[in-house]
């Protein structure tokens, strides 16, 4: 291992097939004297106040303890006294839902700064939950921090082994069952040919897609509950859609077209992946509101009429989504308006500028008095980036 900046490294860990080898690699570097401090961190994908996450927290803490123990064993085996080498573990980012590689990288960077660490060692199989098979963005995000990044030179298990390891999991069973059920619904469950081909189909689907479709293992207790709560949610969503469709239809069909389109931002308190997708799609399905961007926990919602905007800021859909995914007690929370988590981005009472620059490094755009004619839509994204300007004065929760 090449010399490390200041001998202090941080290793984000997750339960992967190559974790043990990564730990061994770091320990070997420490035994060679290249590394003086090893910090194992686990980035939590949950929030502190989620109900029933104790299991996951315990699992994470066990994994951290295991990693630290492995490192100590390896150092003992190499006959290096562990006194000179600092081995720390930490469970971080429990205060926020993490979205995407950027936030993972930022959290890691914060941690590294606090502990004077200059290098990140990545397990080649490390895939933050919610970003299946996407190590590269994470590495790229880290590359834009002052941290130096290296990947542990561990032999990745070949694709076949990885798939086999997935096959044993509950993910395989879930995808297999779902696929078979769907097949039999399409076909005829009493016809033996359909049963045989259905099993074959489900096998193919489960082998190829179980690692794509599911981020983490479904649990026997929580997942069916979510399904049931989802089924409770559907009728109320349909009613909501019907109700607001009538309102919007009247607006659209009225000759004067009394619309007041405005872009808004709302920071929502739901986890990444499926929960935020459910919420974003529910918002889109409810007439008058349209999710334009889902950047981390910030949903940029375009609202057509003030009535829909008020409904959005009341947070009814957010509460429903929390009910579906986290249970009844999690649904009791203040509305986004009370939390001060919403902002209007356009119009005379705009609270914040529009985040164009944040999305593509393009020029800063003023929101409402920008004349649209002199800026062809296609060239906006290509224009030269200007000096770093505003960024969200986000209180990091």
């Amino acid at each position: 291992m090449a010399p490390v900046a200041n001998g202090r490294v941080v290793v984000p860990i997750e339960d992967t097939a190559t974790l043990r080898a990564t730990v061994a690699h770091v320990a070997a570097a420490a035994a060679d004297g290249d590394v003086s401090a090893i910090h194992f961190v686990y980035l939590a994908s949950w929030r502190d106040d989620d109900p029933r996450i104790d299991d996951r927290r315990t699992t994470a803490q066990d994994l951290l303890a295991d990693a630290a123990d492995w490192a100590r064993y390896d150092l003992e085996d190499a006959d290096v006294s562990e006194n000179g080498i600092e081995i720390e573990t930490a469970l971080i980012a429990e205060d926020v839902y993490l979205f995407g590689p950027r936030q993972y990288a930022e959290r890691l960077h914060t941690y590294a700064d606090e502990h004077g660490i200059g290098t990140v060692v990545l397990d080649p199989e490390y895939t933050p939950v919610g970003n299946t098979t996407l190590l590269q963005p994470m590495e790229f995000e880290l590359a834009s921090t002052p941290l130096s990044v290296r990947e542990a030179p561990v032999d990745r298990p070949s694709r076949r082994e990885r798939l086999v390891s997935e096959i044993t999991g509950p993910r395989f069973a879930t995808v297999f069952g779902g696929s078979l059920a769907f097949y039999l619904v399409l076909g005829d469950p009493t016809y033996p040919f359909d049963l045989v081909t259905g099993v074959a189909t489900a096998l193919v689907v489960a082998i190829s897609l179980s690692q794509v479709s599911l981020d983490h293992d479904p649990t026997l207790r929580e997942s069916p509950l979510r399904l049931v709560r989802g089924l409770i949610y559907v009728p109320s969503l349909l009613l909501e859609i019907l109700k607001s469709n009538v309102v919007v239809a009247r607006v659209i069909l009225s000759p004067s077209l009394p619309i007041d389109p405005t872009m808004t931002r709302m920071r929502v308190l739901v986890g990444s992946g499926l929960p935020v997708t459910t919420l974003a799609n529910s918002i889109t399905l409810t007439p008058g509101t349209l999710t334009v961007r889902a950047r981390d926990a910030d949903l940029y919602v375009h609202t057509l009429i003030p009535w829909a905007r008020e409904g959005l800021f009341d947070g009814g859909l957010e509460r429903w989504t929390r009910f579906v995914f986290y249970g009844r007690e999690a649904a009791r929370l203040p509305t986004p308006r009370e939390r001060d988590d919403c902002a209007v981005l356009q119009g005379p009472d705009a609270d914040e500028p529009m985040p164009f620059a944040a999305t593509d490094g393009g020029p800063e755009l003023d929101t409402h008095h920008e004349s649209d004619e002199d800026r062809a839509p296609d060239t906006a994204a290509e224009a030269a980036p200007t000096a770093p300007g505003h960024h969200e004065d986000g209180d990091r929760r």
Binding site: T110, T119, P124, P146, V149, E151, S179, T201, L209
Partner: protein, 217 residues
């Protein structure tokens, strides 16, 4: 897009996973970055070329939807393949739907991740294997003293029906799926994955010996 080759290769290396960051001269020169909640714009900016090389991923809403839809779509594609005998459909249509699922995943997750998941071996294996199975089923009749594709001589119950099913399912569907996905990967690789992307000389380079580009790196 004028860009220095050095800056381009820096990102390239990081993305390729070799990640020897001590080679990257500009890392330490960068101003310290205050981590922000979503501080995309105060990061050292990326040129157009660099941005092209970053794995661009779709919004998580689209990703999650694709995750949900993909298993159903693939199941349906295989259903169409299996049920060609008694309802509309068959190997060609089913194979195309299965290929479309791979395309869908490629759009949501990026082409690199998809190719890592759906490896070259699988693509080529599907296409070549399909042709071989089709020919093989045809040859069974010939070996048995009959004619090419004489299903009645297959050593299975209901030889004609299941022979045809076999050809559709194991022959045509994999060929179509393999070739379509292969074409997609080919086109996605395009002309511009070499340094300096997309100029006429690069296209000319791409058609000459690959050894020259090895030296460039």
């Amino acid at each position: 897009m004028s860009d220095t080759p050095g800056a381009g290769s820096d990102v390239d290396d990081a993305a390729a996973g070799s990640g020897d960051a001590s080679d990257a001269p500009d890392v330490s020169d960068r101003p310290p970055i205050e981590p922000t909640y979503s501080g995309h714009d105060d990061r050292p900016h990326l040129s157009q070329i660099q941005r092209q090389q970053t794995p661009y991923t779709e919004s998580q809403v689209i990703m999650s939807t694709v995750k949900v839809v993909a298993p159903f779509a693939l199941t349906f594609g295989l259903f169409v393949t299996f049920h060609g005998a008694d309802s509309p459909g068959g190997g060609f249509q089913g194979g195309a739907i299965a290929a479309a699922v791979v395309l869908m995943i490629a759009f949501a997750f990026g082409i690199d991740a998809t190719r890592e998941w759906f490896t070259n071996v699988v693509v080529v294996g599907l296409a070549v294997g399909g042709v071989l199975v089709f020919g093989g089923i045809g040859l069974v009749g010939l070996v048995d003293g009959g004619t090419f594709l004489e299903y009645a001589r297959l050593p299975i119950p209901h030889p004609v029906k299941y022979g045809m099913e076999g050809v559709e399912i194991l022959g045509i569907a994999p060929i179509v799926a393999g070739v379509l996905v292969g074409l997609f990967f080919l086109l996605a690789a395009g002309f511009d994955d070499r340094d300096g992307a997309g100029t006429e000389t690069e296209i000319a380079d791409a058609t000459t010996d690959d050894a020259t580009t090895e030296d460039d790196r």
